[in-house]
């Protein structure tokens, strides 16, 4: 099956607050998705609805071709790791792993223990006593070892240090290559994950405002660098989304310079061409609405 999630006109209303407004998208098999947006944009609510932990107000929702609510065929194939996950008070790290192993059919216990070593988690310590970063690591380990056909990470690395985050990306990519599955990463740290993402969705104030393959997105803009006068000449009349002067030099990010002709022209002017950072692009495309989150 190629369509893992199909959402049509999905809406969620709390009282008189519309958390998710008429969202439509599909998620295809064996790709890595980025679900981006600021805090409170509605990302978590959407994922809660996909995993049947919350109820939609209206709209259509199909996961693995079926309604997810009270459906074991669907639910056993999803692993949803969220920053706000609660654990029973008396549970130790090992208890979490053993219990997770019972509910995920593809669970790999050896892999889980390997990850425990790498993230340096104390197996016998109570989850309640873990630091914020360690708690995040528990979620990440469950998410990776579950090998669920649809694995969703919602802000999985609160409090996690840079080394551990790198480790997470590395292990995610390696394991994804060996055991292809659909991964949805919801995060603020766009630049960090930009190399992983194959497809980007941006949610703002409950609405889906961008839904594009990363490659297509990247092709929409380039960054040109050179002496100020040369760059100015090249970018005249173009849509410049970012400029960064440095002494007599200037680097500018320009939209709509996708064609080879234009690139050749830039090169003939002696400019250096570089791809644009995904974060900058998204910040621009969303009218700055994710800027704060992106910088955080």
């Amino acid at each position: 099956m190629s369509r893992i999630v199909e959402v049509k006109g999905l809406t969620k209303v709390y009282g008189n607050f519309e958390a998710v407004k008429d969202v439509t998208f599909t998620i295809e098999a064996n790709k890595i998705y980025g679900l981006l947006g600021r805090n409170g944009a509605g990302k978590t609510t959407i994922m809660h609805m996909i995993t049947a932990q919350q109820f939609k107000t209206s709209g259509e929702l199909k996961v693995f071709g079926e309604e997810p609510y009270e459906n074991n065929r669907v639910l056993s194939q999803i692993c949803f790791i969220k920053e706000s996950q609660k654990y029973p008070d008396n549970y130790r790290v090992i208890d979490v792993l053993e219990v997770a192993a019972m509910f995920f059919p593809n669970w790999d216990q050896a892999f889980a223990h390997e990850l425990i070593e790498e993230f340096r988690l104390p197996l016998k310590r109570r989850v309640k006593k873990l630091s914020r970063g360690m708690l995040s690591a528990v979620g990440i380990i469950v998410g990776l070892a579950s090998r669920a056909p649809l694995t969703i990470f919602d802000e999985p690395y609160l409090g996690l240090d840079a080394v551990a985050r790198e480790l997470f990306y590395k292990r995610l990519i390696e394991d994804y290559a060996e055991h292809p599955r659909t991964v949805v990463l919801s995060t603020h740290l766009i630049d960090e994950v930009s190399q992983l993402l194959e497809h980007v969705m941006v949610i703002d104030q409950g609405k889906l405002i961008l839904n594009e393959d990363t490659e297509v997105l990247r092709g929409r803009a380039i960054s040109v660098g050179g002496t100020t006068s040369q760059v100015e000449e090249f970018i005249k009349g173009r849509n410049v989304i970012h400029r960064e002067p440095f002494g007599g030099l200037l680097t500018a990010t320009v939209m709509g310079v996708g064609s080879t002709d234009e690139k050749r022209r830039a090169e003939s002017l002696g400019l250096t061409i570089a791809p644009v950072s995904l974060q900058q692009l998204i910040v621009h495309l969303t009218g700055g609405s994710v800027r704060k989150a992106g910088e955080a």
Binding site: H48, T51, Q53, Q54, F55, E70, N71, N72, L75, S76, I78, C79, F80, K82, Q85, K86, Y87, P88, D89, N90, Y91, D95, E98, V99, A100, M102, F103, F104
Partner: protein, 228 residues
């Protein structure tokens, strides 16, 4: 694998809360009573109500189990119905085992004439009516009713939140006040006491069954519509 059984195992991994703690409390109280029994050397022996603690614990267990585990279970992709059957089975199984152990201790207590100290802790008049099977049923049905009572409170809270629980208790308080007023006004209290006094422990235990069933059914309906 069977996901309801998974939910049972999930609960029982917390051995302290589900297995050890009720018995630590009960046995601590028991040993204190035993020491007192040894010190006072009462001719006619004496009775203690310390066994009550484990019944109260079952009520508490029913309440606590839901907030402890439901977010975690739903987070692992467990269905609400599997969560219900797994949890209800856990409470039933523990009530069964605990009651069996209590009955066994009652038998030992009777056989050793109150642990050699004429202490009545597990083997109590009224609750024991000549048959250990009946005694077991009294314990089991009472524990079942209490734990499902706790369970329905927790499920209701899960479904309707703080405001809903608050409203429910205000309504219950008003209704019970009205009822109490009515009973006092018409002088019917004695009849109620008499009704209870006429019943054996077994009579009353059997009458808890419909309550347990209603509690379980409503708990299920509340859980079906609850979110994380």
């Amino acid at each position: 694998m069977n996901r309801s059984a998974g939910v049972m195992k999930m609960h029982l991994r917390d051995k302290l809360g589900f297995l050890y703690l009720p018995w630590i409390i009960l046995l601590a109280s028991f040993f204190i009573n035993l020491i007192i029994g040894g010190l006072i050397q009462e001719e006619k022996g004496f009775y203690s109500g310390g066994m009550m603690s484990i019944f109260i614990y079952m009520l508490v267990m029913g309440i606590v189990v839901v907030p402890q585990s439901i977010s975690f279970a739903l987070g692992l992709g467990v269905r609400r119905s599997d969560y219900f059957t797994g949890t209800a089975s856990t409470l039933t199984m523990l009530s069964f085992i605990f009651s069996a152990v209590l009955t066994l201790l009652s038998w030992v207590e009777a056989a050793t004439s109150g642990w050699g100290m004429k202490l009545g802790y597990f083997h109590l008049p009224y609750l024991f009516n000549g048959s250990h099977i009946q005694e077991f049923l009294v314990y089991f049905l009472t524990m079942l009713m209490l734990s499902f009572w706790g369970f329905i409170i927790a499920c209701y809270h899960r479904r309707f939140g703080k405001a809903g629980t608050f409203t429910l208790f205000i309504v219950l308080f008003l209704l019970s006040s009205l009822f109490s007023f009515y009973m006092t006004y018409f002088g019917d209290w004695m009849a109620v006491f008499q009704w209870f006094a006429d019943k054996t422990a077994m009579d009353l235990a059997i009458r808890t069954i419909p309550f347990s069933i209603i509690f379980a059914a409503l708990s299920y309906l509340f859980l079906r519509r609850s979110t994380v």
